[in-house]
């Protein structure tokens, strides 16, 4: 075969897509539908709490369109980084939705579930063997960090997906994955160039974000050929241009020329972006440079405590002028009040919007104004304050937040004119529990011997919606069926299933 076609319905499973775009994609006879379901962008909470940053109903809506359409067309569906973070609870969330859909629609298919959460003991062994190295600027790992980690996931490459395809899976639900892997698995299995397959995956995983106008909730189509790949947006309102596609290469990456992943890096120095027709772009010239040894990226989080917040506004000009001084005094008061009560370890912060609350940096405004006359930053008319307390328990966080709020509300600062209260609360109750707090503590590379067996797969057969069997296939069992699968899989049909005799 000279062309392998991939439909990417949406940038993140649950972000949605117009049915019209999806149908346009199905008309082009894709060989696989692939969708990325996760990201670390929403922060450490979701991996730690075992929850998804996407909504269950939105995810189900997307799957409910994709899975039946793919089964009818006889092509596989691949879902990567299930549940947003890809640890066991996240995979379980999406698995439940797939079971519901199978049941409600009476579907018949074989499902592969690939886990990416690692046993801490394995990570510890690897760490002791010197095979876990930090990804700059993360720090050197310690055993304490491993102990404290709540979930540790590894980003899988295309290899576990290829294995699941060879085992005859119609729907593959994967844990944490290197995003391009799910798109590149079928092409690589069919002998297409690895560099081009991964590069196309790198763009398709964001669906129509690489088009103009860009969108994370519209579909994109990829045509992988022997000498390059073509991208086509599926809505008539969008175009791919050499600029929109090459500019996308910058998105969320550290360096647009070298894109590292499991087993090696994509090198884009020789890439060309050429327009095809009115709305398509052909990309060629990508290289894959394998690393010496196979490394996967680990992500882990540890629990910090519980957070309670209170939001309040300020309009009093005297208060606004003195806000830094006042909040510093309130912090001192809170600390002093609970010192002898045993609440010593807590985090209290005032995020002050209208006065540097958004910036991650020290106040850069005076620098960036860059006026010759040294104009100072004008005083805002209003401020928004978020009082944030993080404590070891829910109750301690509530106590610290509540006490800081009441202290700030009635704090008698110098020059105070408005003596009834310092804060405008938009809500009653004024305080809100935010639940558990986590932080990233593992962001490292781990050397692995076998990129398949690190990610164990389970297979389930659904017959008219009913799960009829469930099988674990540890790596050593895989080996035999893998060999047979390959033998029976030498024709050109990329979706030829060779593993059916051996599973379930």
């Amino acid at each position: 075969m000279d062309e392998l076609r991939i439909l990417s319905p949406t940038a993140i499973l649950g972000y949605g897509f117009p049915v019209e775009s999806f149908e346009e994609g199905m008309k082009r006879k894709p060989h696989v539908i692939a969708v990325d379901a996760g990201s670390t962008d929403p922060g450490p909470y979701y991996l730690g709490a075992g929850k998804s940053f996407t909504d269950n109903n939105s995810v189900k809506r997307d799957l409910e369109i994709m899975i039946p359409a793919a089964l009818e067309a006889g092509i596989p569906v691949i879902i990567g980084t299930a549940g947003g973070s890809g640890a066991r609870p996240h995979v379980a969330l999406t698995l439940e939705l797939i079971k519901e859909i199978a049941n409600e629609k009476g579907l018949t298919f074989k499902l592969a579930v690939i886990q990416s959460e690692l046993d801490k003991e394995l990570v510890r062994e690897k760490f002791r063997a010197g095979e876990v190295t930090p990804l700059f600027p993360a720090k050197e790992l310690t055993e304490k960090e491993i102990d404290e980690a709540v979930h540790i996931v590894a980003q899988m490459g295309e290899e576990p997906y290829i294995k699941a395809l060879e085992m005859g899976a119609d729907v593959i639900l994967g844990g944490r994955s290197y995003d391009p892997s799910l798109f590149a698995a079928l092409p690589i299995k069919n002998g297409f160039d690895k560099a081009l397959a991964l590069h196309m995956g790198k763009i398709l995983e964001c669906a129509a974000i690489a088009a103009l106008p860009g969108s994370g909730s519209d579909s994109m189509f990829g045509y992988l050929q022997r000498d390059g790949f073509i991208l086509e947006p599926l809505s008539p309102a969008r175009k791919c241009t050499p600029l929109s596609v090459s500019a996308h290469t910058l998105y969320e990456k550290s360096n647009p020329y070298v894109l590292p992943g499991p087993g090696g890096a994509l090198d884009l120095h020789g890439c060309t972006f050429t327009p095809v027709g009115d709305n398509k772009v052909k990309v060629a010239g990508t290289k894959f440079v394998p690393t010496d040894g196979y490394f996967v990226k680990l992500e882990g989080v540890r629990k910090v405590g519980y957070r309670t917040i209170s939001c309040a506004g300020v309009m009093d000009p005297v208060m606004i002028a003195k806000i830094d001084e006042i909040t510093a005094e309130v912090k001192k008061r809170v600390k002093n009040n609970f010192e002898h009560y045993g609440f010593q370890e807590f985090f209290l912060d005032f995020k002050i919007y209208g006065k540097g609350g958004v910036s991650l940096f020290n106040d850069t405004r005076s620098v960036s104004e860059n006026n010759d006359n040294n104009e100072s930053v004008p005083m805002p008319d209003e401020l928004m304050i978020i009082i944030e307390a993080v404590g070891a328990t829910r109750e301690q966080a509530n106590t610290i937040c509540g006490f800081a709020r009441s202290t700030l509300l009635h704090y008698g600062y110098e020059g105070r004119v408005a003596t009834a209260g310092n804060l405008a609360f938009p809500f009653s109750p004024s305080d809100a529990e935010m639940g558990e707090v986590f932080e990233f503590n593992i962001y490292h590379l781990m050397k692995v011997d076998d990129p398949v067996s690190l990610f164990p797969a389970t297979y389930m057969q659904f017959n008219q919606g009913k799960a009829t069997g469930e099988n674990n296939h540890p790596a050593h069992v895989h080996k035999t069926s893998f060999a047979k699968t390959q033998q029976g899989n030498e024709n050109n049909d990329p979706n030829k299933k060779g593993g059916e005799n051996h599973a379930v």
């Binding site: 670390t40 990804l135 600027p137 090459s246 550290s254 995020k351 940096f361 850069t364 990233f440």
Partner: protein, 115 residues
């Protein structure tokens, strides 16, 4: 308006006038990356050749140590300049103000330079 002699030789540009995209975003939880995509290839080439974007300039603009600037890459296919820095704190750590890092581009919006 009287022009000084320096201003007669060079022109002062505002980045937001010559760029179509100025954005910031996490690149993983430990890095922040800033993209500037220029409107036309000529201005991009001029900015590139004049070396306007470099680690020192970026460190000054954001008030960070120069060593925290991981790289400034000129990417010709997109007439773009990408600067990646060490995130002041890993995403979501206590003290966070912008989990996705998507609003940290603002100082670049006010950047001016002579060409």
């Amino acid at each position: 308006m009287t022009l000084t002699r320096k201003e007669e030789r060079t022109m002062r540009y505002k980045l937001r006038d010559v760029a179509s995209v100025i954005r910031s975003k996490n690149s993983g939880p430990y890095e922040l990356t800033f993209d500037v995509i220029f409107r036309d290839p000529e201005t991009y080439e001029k900015v590139k050749n004049a070396g306007i974007f470099n680690a020192k300039m970026f460190a000054e603009l954001y008030g960070i140590p120069e060593a925290d600037v991981i790289g400034v890459v000129h990417f010709d296919p997109a007439k773009a300049i990408k600067t990646t820095i060490v995130r002041p704190i890993p995403s979501g750590t206590l003290g966070e103000t912008d989990v996705y890092g998507a609003q940290q581009h603002a100082p670049l919006m006010k950047l001016e330079f002579d060409l």
